[in-house]
C-alpha cells in the first residue's frame, strides 16, 4: 500500500483548517477544526457504546441517518457531555458552520473532545467559525489534526493510495486519542476522507466491519469514552464507478481502509497518555477470531503487565494471567508466548509453563520502543492484533491533575 502525505486532504477535493477560537484558555493550543469536501459526500459513522453519550455524537448520528454529509466541525477542550445545554450547543455549532460554508446544518458532522461535564459557551464558535472557514486549505490537514488533540503529544495523520474501477483513489484520516481509550466502542475521534465513490450502504458496511479489528483493539486505560466517533466522507472525485456492492473494488477499498485504521490504531496506542513503550499483541492459532481478539485485548489491557513493560521486566506470568482471565472458552495449557522487538525475539513460555531464556536478552528486547507479544494458541486458525502501551508514572501524573 502506497502511503501519502496530507492526511484528510490527500483525497481530491478536501480542504481542512484548525485554529484557536477560545474554548481553551491557552492560545498556543488550537481548539477548533474543520474538514470540508468541495462536493456532497456519502458518509458513515461508528460511535461509542458508552451509555453516557456526548451531545455532538447524538447530533452527528441524526445527521448521518440519510448516509450523506459534506463537512466536519470538531472542537477540543470541552467534550460537551453531561452539560445541560449540550444539544443546543451542538446544533448551533452545525448551524454556524453550515452558514459559513453555504451548506445545510444536516450536512455537518459535529464532534467534541475534552473535559466531561463542563458547560459549553457558543461564543467562541460564533467568533471562530467564520475565521476557520476562511482558513480552509488543501494543506490544512495537519492544522486540523493539531486542533483536535487533547493530551496527545503527536499529530496523527495517515493516508494511502489504492485502485478501484481502474481509477487511482485516495483515503486519508486524522485522529486524536491518548486517554480514556478502551475497546467496546467505535473509538476516540477519527475523521476519514476518500475521493472514491462508495454508496452509503457499502461505506457503512466497510466501516462497521473494519472497527472490530482496528480501533476496538486499542486500549490505553480501559476507560471507554463518552464521545468516541469514527466517521468517513466519500466524495467520488476519483471518478471510479460507485462501489455499490461487494466485489473486487469493495475489497480494494476495504483494504485501504484497513491499512489506514490499523496504522492509526498503532499511532493512538503509541501516544497513549504517559506511554514510553508501544505494546502490540498478536494472537494466532485461536479457536476463532473473536477469541483471538479478546485474548489480545486482555494482554494489552493488563495494568500489571503494562507496568512490567515500563520496568522492562519480562514478567510473562502476568501475560499468562491476563490470557487466563479472558472471558472466552479455550485450552490455556497449549499456549506459547514469545517477546519480540527490533532487538530480537525470545520464547518465554511454552505450553503455559516456563521456557528457559536469558533474562538479559529479554530485557534488551524490552528496551525497544515497540514491543510485540506473540501468543500462539495451537488450537485453531483465529488471529487478531491489539495495540496498547505501558503504564507509567506519567500516566498517573497526567490524570492526577487533568483539570488543573
Amino acid at each position: 500500500m502506497k502511503e501519502l502525505q496530507k492526511g484528510v486532504c490527500a483525497p481530491q477535493g478536501f480542504r481542512a483548517a484548525g485554529i484557536w477560537c477560545g474554548i481553551r484558555k491557552n492560545q498556543s493550543k488550537a481548539d477548533l477544526a474543520m474538514i470540508v469536501s468541495d462536493v456532497p459526500c456519502t458518509a458513515a459513522g461508528v460511535y461509542t457504546k458508552n451509555k453516557v453519550k456526548g451531545a455532538p455524537l447524538l447530533v452527528t448520528q441524526a445527521h448521518l441517518a440519510d448516509g450523506h454529509a459534506q463537512a466536519v466541525i470538531c472542537n477540543s477542550g470541552n467534550a460537551n457531555t453531561c452539560a445541560p445545554n449540550g444539544m443546543e450547543i451542538a446544533e448551533e455549532t452545525c448551524a454556524l458552520a453550515a452558514e459559513a460554508l453555504g451548506l445545510r446544518p444536516e450536512d455537518l458532522i459535529v464532534a467534541s473532545t475534552g473535559v466531561i461535564g463542563k458547560e459549553m459557551d457558543i461564543e467562541p464558535f460564533r467568533r471562530g467559525i467564520p475565521q476557520l472557514a476562511a482558513a480552509l486549505s488543501p494543506d490544512g490537514s495537519e492544522a486540523a489534526a493539531r486542533a483536535i488533540m487533547t493530551t496527545d503529544t503527536k499529530v496523527k495523520e495517515v493516508a494511502v493510495e489504492f485502485t478501484a474501477g481502474g481509477k487511482t483513489c485516495r483515503l486519508g484520516g486524522i485522529a486524536k486519542g491518548s486517554g480514556m481509550i478502551h475497546p467496546n466502542m467505535a473509538t476516540m475521534l477519527c475523521f476519514l476522507t476518500t475521493d472514491a465513490a462508495v454508496s452509503p450502504a457499502m461505506l457503512q458496511k466497510a466501516l462497521s466491519e473494519d472497527v472490530p479489528d482496528s480501533f476496538n483493539q486499542v486500549s490505553v486505560d480501559r476507560d471507554t469514552s463518552t464521545n468516541d466517533t469514527v466517521t468517513i466522507l466519500a466524495n467520488g472525485l476519483a471518478g471510479n464507478p460507485e462501489i455499490a456492492a461487494p466485489g473486487p473494488d469493495y475489497d480494494a477499498f476495504a483494504a485501504a481502509l484497513a491499512y489506514v485504521t490499523r496504522r492509526m490504531s498503532f499511532l493512538i496506542a503509541s501516544d497513549g497518555e504517559g506511554a514510553s513503550h508501544t505494546i502490540v499483541c498478536q494472537v494466532t492459532g485461536a479457536p476463532d477470531k473473536e477469541t483471538a481478539r479478546a485474548v489480545s485485548r486482555s494482554v494489552i489491557s493488563s495494568n500489571l503487565f503494562k507496568a512490567a513493560i515500563f520496568g522492562r521486566d519480562a514478567n510473562w506470568g502476568r501475560i499468562l494471567c491476563a490470557i487466563g482471565y479472558t472471558e472466552a472458552e479455550f485450552d490455556v495449557s497449549r499456549v506459547d508466548v514469545t517477546l519480540r522487538s527490533q532487538a530480537g525475539s525470545v520464547l518465554v513460555c511454552r505450553q503455559a509453563a516456563h521456557s528457559p531464556y536469558s533474562e538479559e536478552e529479554a530485557s534488551k528486547i524490552l528496551s525497544e520502543e515497540v514491543v510485540t507479544v506473540l501468543v500462539e494458541m495451537h488450537q485453531g486458525s483465529g488471529e487478531a492484533t491489539a495495540w496498547g502501551c505501558d503504564l507509567t508514572y506519567d500516566y498517573v501524573k497526567i490524570n492526577g491533575d487533568y483539570r488543573t
Copy 2:
C-alpha cells in the same frame, strides 16, 4: 457485631504460626504459615475464575470435595503456578504438613502466593514445616497473617463474636491482597475459621453466597489472579447445635461471615499496591442487585477516576463515564453522584449533569484517606458496595520491578 482480637485464633481450638523457611531470600520476611484446628472441621472454599490456576488451588479443591479439612499450609514468595513440578510440590507440601500434624494429607488446605512461573523447590518446606508445627500457638494468627503477605504493607486480621443456638460463637480470618486483584473470582487469599458447628453444605452455601458481595466487589488493578482462594474451617467447639439448614442460626452465622468478609474487603482495598486513598462506592436505587454490583465495580475500577482521586480532583465526569460503560441495562440520565468523607459531603452530579458545588470543598473531602462515592440511580431497590483504591506513582513503581 462485637469485634475480637486474634484473627483466625479467635475461635476456640485454633492455633496458627508463621516462620521464614527460605522460599524467600530475605530472612526478615516470613514465608510459610500454618493454621490448625484441634479437632476435625467441616470446610468450604471458593476459587479464582482465571483459567490459569495455581497447582495448590487444584489440590485444595480436591481435598475439600468431601467437605472436610483440619489445617491450612500456605507459603508466600512463589505462586507455584505455571511451574512444571507444581502438582508434585503442592501434594508433597500437604504430605509434609500432615506428617508434622498427625493428619492425613487430604485434611490439608494448601495455598501459595507470589511470582507466577518460577520453579518451586521442596527443600524449604521440608526444613520449615516441622519448625512451623512446633511454633503453633493460640496467639499465632498475626504471625501467620504476616507470613502470607507479599506486597501487602498491613497485616489483615478480623474476628467477631455472634450467637447461634444459644451459644457464643466466633468467626475470624486472615487475608493477603495488594496486587493482581479484581472481581470475577473468589479472590486473593483469605483463610477463615469458626468454632460454630456448620454442616459442609451450609458452610459452602454461606461462603458462595457471601463472596459476590464481598471479595468479588474489590478491585485494585483489574487483574484477576491465578491463585485466589477463600476457605473456611468450622470446628464446632462452640457447642451449638450444627447449623444444617437455613433458619435464624444460619442467618446469624451468615451475618458474622458478612461482617468479617466486608471488613476484610475494605482492608485489602486500603492496602492496594501504592494506594494513598481507599475508595468505597455505594450504589443505591439500581434496577436490581446485579446492576448495582456492576456499576459500583465499574466506578472503583476506572484508572482515570483512580488517578483523579490520587490528585484530589473531583472529576465526576469520569465517574459518569465509568457508570456509562458498565455492561448492564439502565437509564443513566437519572443518576445522582455524591462525594463523601469525614470532611463532609457534596452532590457533584444530579441527573447525569453538572450540579453546582465548591471545588474547594470537594478537594477537602478528597483529602481524607477514605473517600465514598454515593451513586443514587433512582430506578429500583438494588444496592451494592465495592471497594478500591487510587492509582498512584507507587503502583507503577511496585509493579515496574516486582521481580528484581
